[in-house]
Structures are given as C-alpha cells and as structure tokens.
Symmetry: C2
Subunit: 114 residues, 2 copies
DNA sequence: ATCAGTCATCGGCCATCGGCGATAAACGAT
DNA sequence: ATCGTTTATCGCCGATGGCCGATGACTGAT
C-alpha cells in the first residue's frame, strides 16, 4: 500500500461521482429523494427554483453517475437513490481519506478541532 | 431534522469542496502531498503528465477550496494538506450520507453487497 | 382521435474548465 | 548585475457545464 492509493481507473470513477455530487441542485435532488424515501417525480422540480428541463438534466447527471435509479412508471418517471452505489462511493471516500491522513492515523474519524 | 439536511450555505460549501476533489489530477496532487508527508513543490509536477502551468492551476483550485495550505519558502512554494479542513469535509460528507441513508439506518457503514 | 399531463431531449446562449506555451515575478548564487 | 531556478499568471483555445424555452415522446382519460 505504499505504491498507489488510487489506480487511474479508480481515480477517474471517484472523480466522476464526486463531480456528480458537486452541485447544490443535485445535492438538493438527492435530499428530496431521501426525504420521500420512495421514488418521486415532479416533486423534485417543485422543490427547486429551476426550470423542469434543467432539473431533468441534473437528474440525468446523477443517473449517469450511477447514484440514482430510474423506473418508468406509466406516464411518469420515478427515481430513487441507489443506496448500494452510494455506499460504495462512501467506501471509496473512506479509502481516500485514509490515504490522505498522516501515515497510520486511522483513528482520526470524528475528532475535529472545529 | 425533518426540515433541511443541508442549508443553502452548507450545500454551496460542500459542493465547492467536492468540485475541487472531482478531478483525477487533483486527487493525484493530494495523494502526492500525502506520500511525502511534508510539503513538496515541483515534485508534484514531476508526478503528473501535465504542464507546470496546468499543475499550478490545479494546486490553486485545491488551495482556494481550503484543502491545502501554501507556505512560501524562499524561491519555492511548499504545499501541505490541510488535515483539519479535510477532516471537516469528511464530517460534512458523513452528514450527507447519513441524511441520504434510508431513515434511521445509521449502521450502514461498511456492509455493502457489491 | 383528441386532449392534458409528465418527462426527456434539442438548440442556443453564456460562463467556466482544462489544457498549453509564453511570460513575469521572486529568489539564490555567481 | 546577471544568470538559473522555481512558481504564478496571462492569453488563447476547444470542450464542457448550466440554464432556459420550445419541442417531442409517451401515457391516460375523454
């Protein structure tokens, strides 16, 4: 484990998923999806100060990153958080933070000065 | 806790830091910085297939996101990971993942099917 | 068949990103 | 003062992102 913490492919994947998360609107979409724990559709649009087409784009980004799943349910689409993918991402992030921590400082989980 | 998991300001900050992380080159910069646990300078450039100016830009992005700190040391600049900021970010991410998890599923940390 | 509702996609607009080479700025050494 | 070294900044470019309105595809109901 002294060679490379992230393979190029891993790095690319992690970066892609982080990029999908790295937008307030998309964070809000995920939050909305989590609140109604089952899938919703146009409610996401209602909760954002953006046009429907824009929200649709954001949803697409999240879906392409594999963070949410789409289910076509009649005339409307329902989305839900892919908890497995989110968990995997969390694992990757844990690995990243562990790699970036000073040497073997594995116990540095929740002890923050501020 | 039924209202908003992320305030608009929090959301903005988190998104900004995630965006800083969301690039393979910048991940590599952080990795390099972590390996030489003290600050380095042009070694970062040597470890990347990019021009010096490009790397400098990436470093700037990381610095502006508050993830690394710059110390001018004579003619050369030394960078080091801001572990406090990284820890804070990790905390924010933990909060995010907790908020996105199904209801009160706090124990879903490392049990992933795939 | 027609209409209304829902969502995805298209095209356009502008801002930002990511890359580069070139240049400037700061410093140590000669 | 003049180099050489190191880093930051400046244009420049193509590509991408984010936003919108408009349109299209699909469905269910009339």
């Amino acid at each position: 484990m002294t060679d490379a913490f992230l393979s190029p492919a891993e790095s690319e994947l992690l970066a892609a998923q982080l990029r999908a998360l790295a937008h307030p609107a998309r964070l809000k979409v995920l939050e909305t999806l989590a609140r109604h724990q089952t899938c919703v559709c146009g409610e996401i649009v209602a909760g954002l100060p953006l046009a429907q087409s824009t929200v649709s784009q954001h949803i697409k980004v999240l879906a392409e990153a594999g963070l949410i799943r789409v289910t076509v349910d009649g005339p409307r689409s329902c989305y839900c958080i892919d908890h497995a993918a989110l968990g995997a991402l969390r694992g990757r992030l844990d690995g990243l933070f562990a790699a970036l921590a000073p040497a073997g400082d594995a116990a540095r989980t929740a002890a923050l000065p501020d």
